[in-house]
Symmetry: C2
Subunit: 532 residues, 2 copies
Amino acid sequence: MSKNNQPLPDNVTTQKNNDDITHLLLRPVAIDTYRENVAYLHRDCAVYRAEGFQALSKIEVRANGRHILATLNVVDDLSIVGCGEVGLSEDAFVQLGVARGEKAYVSQAEPPLSMEALFRKINGERLNKEDFRGIVSDIAQHHYSKIELTAFVVATNRGEMDRDEVYFLTQAMVDCGRRLDWKESLVVDKHCIGGIPGNRTSMLVVPIVAAHGMLCPKTSSRAITSPAGTADTMEVLANVDLPFEALTEIVLKHHGCLAWGGASDLSPADDVLISVERPLSLDSASQMVASILSKKIAAGSTHLVLDIPIGPTAKVRSMRDAQSLRRLFEYVASRLNLSLDVVITDGRQPIGFGIGPILEARDVMRVLENDPAAPNDLRQKALRLAGRLLESSPDVRGGDGFSIARDILDSGRALTQMNAIIQAQGSHHFDYHHPSLGALTFEVKAPKAGVVTSIDNMHIGQIARLAGAPKIKGAGVDLLKKMGEQVSAGDVLYRVHAEIEADLTFAKDLCAKASAYMIGSADDISHVFVEF
Amino acid sequence: MSKNNQPLPDNVTTQKNNDDITHLLLRPVAIDTYRENVAYLHRDCAVYRAEGFQALSKIEVRANGRHILATLNVVDDLSIVGCGEVGLSEDAFVQLGVARGEKAYVSQAEPPLSMEALFRKINGERLNKEDFRGIVSDIAQHHYSKIELTAFVVATNRGEMDRDEVYFLTQAMVDCGRRLDWKESLVVDKHCIGGIPGNRTSMLVVPIVAAHGMLCPKTSSRAITSPAGTADTMEVLANVDLPFEALTEIVLKHHGCLAWGGASDLSPADDVLISVERPLSLDSASQMVASILSKKIAAGSTHLVLDIPIGPTAKVRSMRDAQSLRRLFEYVASRLNLSLDVVITDGRQPIGFGIGPILEARDVMRVLENDPAAPNDLRQKALRLAGRLLESSPDVRGGDGFSIARDILDSGRALTQMNAIIQAQGSHHFDYHHPSLGALTFEVKAPKAGVVTSIDNMHIGQIARLAGAPKIKGAGVDLLKKMGEQVSAGDVLYRVHAEIEADLTFAKDLCAKASAYMIGSADDISHVFVEF
């Protein structure tokens, strides 16, 4: 509708829709369309015919004073939806929150108000704070279709956003959800941008800094494309899906928690955006900064240590890219008044030995128990990150953090703290000496003698996923050799664990294509120049 | 998988999937997902569990030596798909072309090979000919999900493509489908970029140039977002959905046809891309040029007259934009060896009186019958476009086209030609003196005296759509006043026709918001400087 139309209220009488003609009965359709609301109408439904809807167009479904927007799928099977019914996909039905069989009304959805700003962004324009606020609010309220979400994500991809726009986006993402206030001047957190299997430092950093008395309310995601997220691994040891009130109590009592952040309504637009970023494997700098920082600000953090691993198969492949990402994180964090300490770390290979929830939980417990079999790289990295966080405390001198963290770990105070958190969240039985790994296994051996010169993070992660991780907790990959180690031909490089025969086969097929290991001479090892 | 993995064929034995464990039975699911293949697996399906699929991920479905890619929806209702079944949405089932109940196998789909080029385009790089060939071929074969299609469309939007890239894209779109060869040196066509309701010049230009003996095999689309396409309007008079062989015969005998181009497999990637362009209302210059020119080249045209209307509510709003679009069309057409004549026309208001299939067919027949009630703007525009096309014939002097076209129309030869084409395609009964318009009507009147200074193309089109056009052929809007006409307060500006009470209400509601007409003084009329 163009702006210069003259309304003609006196010449045209508007009449209300006749409810008896146009109402439909609401019913759930048991199809999981993963965060895209889908509505199902039968092709012979009178309302569908009258409205001139088209498949994939967006419609508004109203019932009992509530309403949602949904993409329309047209159905030709009366057992899925009848002619007098409107069906909703699982998420959409829950979101509308109205009982089956209630009267519902459908109409062409007006495009979300922010669509106009989206089109400007698609056409390469710079958007302002209000534009982002409108877009993000529409996204959080599920007003965007998958197609519109994708358009936004691609149009705001790397290079299309200046740093102020990234700040506007982040602020808008914070503002559209819940925001916690711990009433403390120091609320710490650590985060890694991801991409390195086995990198479970949070499960060590949280008990260490909590043992020091710092507040560290850590919420984590489950694995999206990786073989295990912190939430999946922590779940081996304890409940992670806790009501918000219980979580608050645990944090206030034990200074820390290690929980799943899924249901907390912190930065809800982020949860929607990920539904298109994931299938596109799109992880642009702008989106990453907005996603991570909005979650942290919403969770009430005041100080954040951010881990950016670099390596040939890490998310960030060069120091130049890492520095540019660091600057963007720092700019936005500073605008949002978050104290940020970025550390660029060695991401040339997985951290620790295990890849998969139980295998990674085993590694974590070995470190906490000061077991001689503990992976030293995981221990060292966790101590250094914890040290940096400890130094955000006004009573810790710059440079002293590492040794304080080491004392807390070596003395067993970190273990005690972790056990307290595990008990508080609700402990699961786990014996790290005898982890219940998938019983179906195969080993991949070195084809020749030499030095392990690289381990492909993405490929070894994919093998662990095909073996069943993270869905099957005991599935995954156990690395027996790491980079720089000397091997003889026939030495076992790693062992794959699965529970289901088909999983084992899929993983084996992928290993046959490529092992993820390179064997060569010590000179072939790529170098990275990082702090740790 | 990174490139430097060493395959270890001797150390890992690959075993073939055990068919008995992993096969599923194929079944159609009667849901229309509009050109996006969707596969349905039950959440408790053993294969789903084993493979670690996620909702919305892409899977490959294989059966009987055929295979398709589909987006996965997870189902929790055994009546939609059972645990031992894989369901396919309507289009997907047809595309796979294997009978219900046959054994089918599913697996994680490898991403399409062209995905790598798509990511480069998303990141702002220029693509080469082979990149576009790969992408377009994957699109035409339905290897892209809706999300990936959207990413492509947004990443190749205005300003992101140089003119050689547009040429590569167009050529790739031609190459991936069928291409007709009429064995004639002169095969003419006309096309309008759209956006102007009532603009049915093709139904006049085709009989005029065909009467002159030129070959004009016109295929048109049905309305996508407009109240009527040429195919919808022609369908009032004759069959438009003809098998390819019948069409060829008609063209060879009568020099022309007016048919629906939907099933002809000309530029099939275009039909896929439109499924995301339409919901986004995205119509970038690059996509428009590639879409239009690929269809024309594939249809075997050698000469094209292209109509670019400009006006405040047309697709193109300024002469600068029209000229830049003209240059892009000309560059690509010339690389493809298509003779192109671009005319920039007055797009400030609808053409003719009627908007909607029957109303527009009435206007067309009035012009062909030389009826004094014929809309003069439609007649003049058609004559000028036909004249330009006639001048592509070597025996017509530049400047003579218009008068030749007028002679053909005035003498009744165009009507005779049109009737022959109608008979050949299979005529429908239509009496243009008594068109069967929707019986439910209301009128919108001038709120004050003055001159009609503008008619909003988009808004009046939307009113006609809500009234039921194009699905209901007799629905639509009949304009009684056009731009520049003097009106008194209370004069009827236009009449809306509908068949269904609800449609009438929806249209009336929209008219109450804005009439689409502006009444003012003659000085308020916007000026455009166009050839005609």
